[in-house]
Symmetry: C2
Subunit: 350 residues, 2 copies
């Protein structure tokens, strides 16, 4: 039984939640620590959760007029400076590229901390007439922010995966409707896919994104009583369209400023997922997002192996509308397998 003890979770969610969380992430093979502090390696079971989140959100975005694009990972310092001039209080700590090959660059390049400052000038170029609006762009990418000191996988990491949406609209009403639509989609993701109840709300003045008129948020309550920001959707008013000249000619041939929004959801959602459902036996995954929904662990005596396996295969076939795994490993005993799949969060084990 030694293997089982090594495999199990030794920390308690109630007594030492920090250590418990780190242990679940590691032992359920979700993530590992990178050699660079604040960065993590996301293992296949972890990235499959992110791919599932991406699949659902992306399809809802598409159904509601969003198009994906890709903007460069490196952003010139003067672009970020320009953003800082526009929106007082915005001063992200970034990773700076100063050398390309052997040569020192004439201007420092930031590893993308967020992309407003590079996307906005192109939105200005692509929007001319009221017929070009609304313009709805999104990208799935990684961003780097140097703030985080104490690492916690998915909650506090210097690099994280996210999506960032950036849109332009004719007027306040359209932009506000966009802001709320995205917030509702984030709420839907938490409720339907992650099975986590969230509260929708508005950030207080001191806590909103400095460029925003309103920052709306979905907040999830964690077992330790802390609230986690699960995704934010900003109504930016005309702050960015003034600065970057995102304007359009309206139906009456008059020049107007666009109203813009931005909205983002990061892999922190995976952290909230683990924290909410998992327990002292390990990871617990809702069926909608579990890589395997059902695992079959056959129990045989050596002379009955083929008979039992044949029956197990029939069950597997009968359940083929679900994601089913048949664990036919000879070298592990059924008890070990049950514990391992429980640790890894498979919802149904038979």
């Amino acid at each position: 039984m030694r293997g089982e003890q090594e495999l199990g979770i030794s920390n308690s969610k109630n007594e030492n939640p920090g250590e418990w969380y780190a242990e679940v992430v590691k032992k359920a093979e979700i993530a590992d620590y990178s050699p660079v502090g604040g960065f993590i390696i996301v293992r296949p079971r972890g990235i499959s959760l992110w791919e599932s989140i991406r699949f659902h959100l992306d399809s809802w975005f598409r159904e509601t007029g969003v198009e994906n694009a890709y903007f460069p990972v490196l952003i010139p310092e003067k672009y970020l400076e320009r953003e800082k001039e526009i929106i007082a209080g915005f001063d992200p700590e970034v990773a700076w590229v100063t050398h390309g090959g052997e040569e020192e660059l004439g201007e420092r390049l930031a590893v993308r901390p967020t992309s407003e400052s590079i996307i906005a000038p192109f939105m200005a170029r692509w929007v001319r007439s009221h017929r070009d609006l609304p313009l709805r762009l999104n990208q799935w990418c990684s961003v780097v922010r140097w703030e985080a000191t104490e690492t916690k996988p998915f909650f506090r990491t210097k690099e994280f995966l996210w999506q960032e949406g950036h849109t332009a609209h004719k007027n306040r009403d359209d932009a506000w409707a966009e802001t709320i639509q995205r917030l509702d989609q984030y709420e839907r993701l938490y409720r339907e896919i992650l099975a986590i109840p969230v509260l929708k709300g508005r950030k207080p003045e001191h806590d909103k994104f400095p460029g925003a008129e309103t920052t709306s948020t979905v907040e999830a309550l964690m077992p330790d009583g802390k609230s986690v920001q699960g995704g934010t959707s900003h109504y930016l008013g005309t702050t960015f369209s003034k600065a970057f000249e995102i304007g359009y000619v309206d139906e009456n041939e008059e020049n107007q400023l666009a109203h813009t929004t931005s909205w983002g959801l990061s892999w922190r959602a995976i952290g909230a997922l683990i924290m909410t459902h998992s327990d002292d036996q390990g990871l617990v995954l809702p069926p909608a997002i579990a890589p395997e929904q059902i695992v079959i662990v056959p129990i045989w005596k050596s002379d009955k192996r083929e008979e039992v396996m044949g029956y197990a295969r029939e069950i597997q076939k009968a359940l083929s509308e679900f994601r089913v795994e048949l664990d036919d490993r000879d070298e592990k005993n059924p008890g070990f397998k049950f514990n391992e799949w429980e640790l890894k969060g498979v919802p149904i084990r038979i």
Copy 2:
């Protein structure tokens, strides 16, 4: 007719292919130039091509045992140095992060030029027994290489999107079979999805990846007579497993070295796609990858608009198994619309 002239392609594919290519990319709204030389902005029509490539390749990878993962965008200099020690001749020009926020870092970090050096140590950690093999990891990400000077969207860019697969196997035969399987999948992508014939082959000694025992490649012949490397699959032998100690205990309890492979396909495939099929009227897309397979351009006299549109909607419905766009814009005339959709590469226009 002024709009039509502005919209059209003014360069000739035969006479000045370079300018023609740049014009098609720009006017079909595939990509734009970034403010940083060598970087591009990929617009929605461009990224939808990449997403389609990703969708097909990714599903074939999965069917054949590959799991996705995600490794950090920043790699410590000593990791790259270690790779350089192992494989003479490998010296990528990289973008160096030297500062995080206000502080100078103790060690420079490279913006990922390829991930062998960060993935291999984790493969070594995750592989213990012959039962852990084969291990097949892949990631979809962007990489930065500072070599390119003269920019050509998708062909020569300092940043590009790609997938990189890294696998470990028990022996030479298994690793070689993996190498060829991935090469065959690249060939399939070119033939079935991009409708481009490719030749499979092996790189000569001076042109292979320095760490590889064999570099296999699919090559596409461009209209200008040049051959374009469409994807490469490397059999790495035990070069990396020796250096990074990727070893395993075999069935007889003996220690063995794993044999590894790596393989990658980048957004250069989009460049080859444009170069191969497009013409002096603009982009030409094969149906398998076209964002819209069919566009319906209704032609009406003002009193017949509703009648014609009703009929057009019926056709759209009848064709609903395809990706159909109904162009109901009032402000453009049918001739303009036809030319625009031809420029944008929709295979069937009715």
